[in-house]
């Protein structure tokens, strides 16, 4: 039986089609969890809404924009300071959020007037910012305010100002994924092609579906810059509004989180003939291959190889140190969407852990296809999990660690399962070669924390050791390791800095002369 029935969900039979165990010899054509269906009320699902998918996940990482939500303040407050998408613009997008503060009288008489006033006030408070996004909420959608018309008025009144409107109320679609879709299509239809960029390289990409969680984008940007590739825009982490209006001029769309933004790449391919290249920024081999492919596309593979060689030499000994100690550890890979497939195979291959379960809160069947294809036999795949199913899965699978969100992490804590934040990371970035070692380090620190040993002791019943007042992680992790591994001088623990981005910011890059198809590195710009 490939479909998996949870004991706790026997009374809601429709849940049965949402979970699958990858059986021996079974393929995607045998069983696939249902996905992106309306949530069962009262099930205590972990899903968010389409407003947060549009505003919070995709819109807000844009760094040079006033982000206004048209509705009561709750939507704005609740989606403020709950993510770690940083930027090199002093984190403006994290620090400031704007709400039109819709009240009862506006529900009755309309709120277009206060929306306009709000927009003017916001531009006045931040005179250096000339770009704005306005997000519809449930309330403004239901009363039918014409946000587009107000945006037009404001643009006419304030020359030099540009406003993007996203109509993605919370109830639009089964989950936040509905919002990803709406904002991608809206951006494509209304903003792409409205700015002509300055092209500074023969190799021009959009980096799509990358949200700069703890600096992921900046790590990848470093590689692209080193290769002499111009990043026209990043959708949307650390991205600028005008850069994203110029997406149509890229030669290649490099797509990371297909779940949230493949729509955009597909439309760009159809309308502008820009190819879509799906990549993995996580893991040595997938990342290396991704850089190689981009290099190959542009005929500059040697530049990719150079990065891969240097980074591998620097970081592989550290990854291996962790791999030996994480071998066979059971992991529940329970993120929101794309990380289930980004990580499923590579954490098994490069860190030695066994992925015993994958789930997705808001993914579609396509994400499950990718995820199930990448896990080993026996893994349990769950679509739109709920609280009780998550608990049942943990009791049955007994994972050594789970990768999920902050709040479900608190549920796991109570049953003494350590968790790592899959959405926002513990101590990221996790992209890039160094980032991948940071991830391994975080997993190691999670699994081998002495606190987890202590948590299992019942002092009223168990024998209590009076020998020794401490344990180190290595006293736990190295117990069964052979001496040659324990003492192997070629491997070492992570040696990077707490803030691995500091050395990237302000870095200068080689300047490559533009000579048509053949590029020659002429000089190295002076390092700082």
């Amino acid at each position: 039986m490939p479909y998996h029935e949870f004991e706790v969900s026997r009374c809601i039979p429709e849940r049965k089609k949402h979970a699958v165990v990858k059986g021996p010899g079974e393929t995607l054509a045998d069983a696939l969890p249902a996905g992106y269906l309306n949530t069962i009320p009262g099930s205590i699902s972990e899903r968010g809404c389409a407003y947060c998918g549009a505003k919070h996940v995709i819109g807000t990482p844009m760094k040079d924009v006033i982000h206004i939500s048209h509705g009561p303040t709750g939507c704005t407050y609740d989606t403020w300071q709950t993510k770690r998408y940083i930027s090199d613009n002093d984190n403006f997008q994290l620090k400031y959020t704007f709400a039109t503060d819709m009240k009862e009288k506006h529900i009755v008489f309309g709120a277009e007037k206060i929306l306009k006033q709000n927009m003017l006030e916001a531009f006045k408070a931040f005179p250096d910012i000339k770009r704005m996004t306005v997000y519809q909420t449930c309330a403004s959608a239901l009363i039918g305010d014409d946000i587009e018309a107000v945006a037009q008025e404001v643009m006419e009144e304030l020359p030099g100002v540009d406003v993007f409107v996203c109509n993605s109320p919370g109830f639009r679609g089964p989950s936040q994924s509905g919002g990803h879709h709406t904002i991608c299509i809206a951006w494509f239809e209304n903003k792409v092609g409205t700015v002509e960029p300055e092209i500074t390289s023969d190799y021009v990409i959009n980096y799509v579906g990358e949200y700069n969680i703890q600096g992921d984008q900046e790590v990848m940007q470093d590689y692209f810059n080193t290769m002499g590739i111009q990043i026209l825009s990043t959708f949307t982490g650390n991205g600028s509004y005008d850069g994203l209006r110029a997406m149509h001029k890229a030669h290649l769309n490099v797509l990371e989180c297909a779940r949230s933004s493949e729509y955009l790449c597909n439309e760009l391919r159809v309308k502008y003939g820009i190819p879509r290249l799906d990549i993995d920024g996580f893991g040595f081999e997938p990342l290396g291959n991704s850089l190689r492919k981009i290099g190959l596309f542009f005929g500059i593979e040697d530049r990719a190889e150079k990065i891969i060689d240097e980074e591998t030499a620097r970081w592989k000994p550290e990854l291996d140190w962790y791999k030996h100690r994480l071998q066979g550890k059971k992991v529940c890979l329970w993120p929101g969407g794309s990380k289930l497939w980004h990580w499923a195979n590579v954490i098994h291959e490069e860190m030695g852990v066994d992925v015993v379960s994958v789930y997705t809160k808001f993914g579609h069947q396509g994400d499950m296809e990718k995820g199930i294809a990448r896990v080993e036999e026996g893994a349990l795949a769950i679509d739109d999990p709920n609280e009780l199913e998550g608990l049942e899965a943990m009791y049955n699978l007994k994972p050594d660690i789970i990768f999920t969100g902050k709040r479900p992490g608190e549920v796991a804590k109570k049953i003494r399962v350590p968790y790592l934040n899959a959405h926002a990371y513990h101590n990221g970035p996790y992209k890039g070669f160094e980032g991948w070692v940071r991830f391994a380090r975080d997993i190691y620190n999670g699994i081998y924390s002495p606190i987890h040993e202590l948590a299992k002791i019942d002092i009223s019943r168990d024998a209590i050791s009076t020998e020794g007042g401490f344990k180190t992680q290595r006293m736990i992790s190295d117990v069964n390791l052979p001496d040659e591994v324990k003492n192997d001088p070629s491997m070492r623990q992570y040696t990077g800095a707490y803030d691995s981005l500091a050395r990237l910011r302000g870095k200068t890059y080689p300047v490559f002369e533009r000579t048509g198809d053949k590029q020659v590195a002429v000089e190295m710009a002076t390092a700082e």
Binding site: S45, T76, T100, M102, K103, N118, C138, I143, K406, K414
Partner: protein
């Protein structure tokens, strides 16, 4: 040179201080044992509030959603409440109390949640769950009215209104704490225990500071029982500590069951704690024992070490839930500090007539601004563009970047305080709270002096 009550002049909100009503109702609901609320609205209305609460308390709590989807906007979504209640009851056999908490969307659509509750009580419950004790309680908290503060107030009233049942006098005091932390409840119960007063505490949320147990099966929940709520009608009186969070319930009990209601004080600081004990004494006839005289003495002793040398004249900005913000302001004045800006993050029309605010306006002799309907920009704009200088900020974590960007030390207080460890565990009420707050403030200032090399050597001898 005096205290002014102002209102934010801008229409919109730049960085909100409060979230909306349903969040308050949800926070109240988790205080009840065997209770899982259903928020009737989009999933975000629950998912983010659960996240917020879990960020604050580092615990997870169960709250369900009716998961409003597109068709609801056209056809209404009452059926999703019905389905939600059924699913919840089937899968959570211990659940007895299900508040149905409305939101902006379902109030605009006009879903009749009272009607749904009636229907469920007539059809689903007797047929599918005969003999099972289930309480369905509609709570109207449209997000476009008031704030999370009202939402909490409304929910407490609705829970009390639903359950309070006239019976034999129980000799107990109802203590409605308002929106507080587990540490506050412990401190309040300690004070009552010292006075040998038997109280029904709404809500028993000490358990929010919950253990990880060796058997690994703990689920965090509040501990106020249905019997506690029923018994509120039979108390000797109700003491609601906060005017804006719980007073509605106290007044209801007074009007309906003639249980005398006393509103306030919010027992932050020595003076307000004294007044709290005086109220308890008045209502119960129990004397204030010597043990509390000693406890108070320890607090006075601790504060004396700090006030005139270190805290006097320090300029403070304060924002928090309104009762807490006002009580903190009063406490700061007792500590010789100068609260220059007090931000109340909603448009409650009653602030104008709040006797505490009146008293501030009559007596404060330096320029203090109390700003209603405030957002964080009211504070930041004053610092950035209008020359406001501060020595300290008192408030919750959402304002953290003002402290960081303008180099002003900050003491985390209120809800939410996710960017500091364990704040929820410490009381700000009672004598213990007075010590904790004053010492936190002093230590924040000391650390800041050291970072800025601003007379840091003064602490060499102290």
């Amino acid at each position: 040179m005096s205290c002014e009550l102002l209102q934010k002049e801008r229409t919109g909100v730049i960085n909100p201080i409060f979230t909306c009503q349903p969040a308050g109702a949800q926070y109240a609901s988790i205080g009840i044992r065997e209770c899982i609320g259903i928020v009737h609205g989009g999933q975000g209305c629950v998912m983010f509030v659960r996240l917020l609460i879990s960020q604050h308390l580092k615990e997870s709590f169960e709250i369900a959603s009716s998961s409003l989807h597109e068709d609801a906007a056209v056809f209404g979504a009452c059926h999703r409440v019905e389905e939600g209640v059924d699913v919840l009851l089937m899968r959570y056999p211990d659940v007895k109390v299900i508040p149905i908490i409305s939101t902006c969307s379902t109030e605009i659509i006009g879903d009749d949640i009272d009607g749904v509750v009636r229907k469920l009580n007539e059809e689903l419950l007797p047929t599918k769950y005969p003999g099972r004790e289930v309480h369905l309680i509609p709570i109207h908290t449209p997000s476009f009215v008031g704030s999370m503060v009202n939402g909490y107030d409304v929910a407490v009233r609705d829970f009390v209104k639903y359950f309070a049942t006239k019976g034999e006098p129980n000799g107990k005091l109802n203590l409605i704490t308002g929106w507080v932390n587990p540490g506050d409840v412990s401190a309040l119960k300690h004070l009552l225990a010292e006075m040998e007063v038997d109280a029904t505490v709404l809500f028993e949320i000490e358990s929010f500071d919950s253990p990880t147990m060796p058997d690994g099966n703990h689920v965090s929940h509040g501990d106020t029982t249905i019997e506690d709520l029923q018994g509120t009608a039979n108390a000797i009186g109700t003491l609601a500590l906060n005017r804006y969070e719980g007073a509605k319930a106290a007044k209801y009990l007074e009007e309906k069951f003639a249980v005398p209601a006393v509103i306030g004080p919010t027992p932050v600081g020595i003076r307000n704690t004294d007044a709290f004990l005086a109220r308890v004494k008045e209502m119960t006839g129990k004397p204030i024992p010597r043990s509390l005289v000693i406890e108070r003495g320890i607090a006075i002793d601790a504060l004396t070490d700090l006030v005139h040398m270190h805290l006097a004249d320090k300029r403070v900005a304060i924002y928090a839930n309104p009762d807490l913000a006002i009580a903190l302001t009063e406490f700061c004045l007792d500590l010789e500090m100068k609260p220059l800006v007090v931000l109340l993050g909603d448009d409650n029309p009653f602030y104008e007539d709040d006797p505490r605010i009146k008293r501030l306006r009559e007596n404060v002799d330096f320029p203090m601004e109390i700003i209603t309907n405030a957002d964080f920009w009211e504070l930041e704009d004053r610092i950035k563009n209008r020359g406001l200088e501060l020595d300290l900020i008192l408030g919750h974590s959402k304002g953290r970047f003002i402290s960081i960007d303008y180099n002003i030390p900050m003491v985390r207080v209120g809800f939410p305080t996710y960017d500091r460890a364990g704040i929820f565990r410490h009381p700000v009420v009672g004598y213990a709270g007075a010590i904790y707050l004053a010492e936190q403030m002093a230590n924040a200032i000391f650390t800041d002096m050291e970072h800025k090399k601003n007379k840091e050597w003064i602490l060499n001898v102290w």
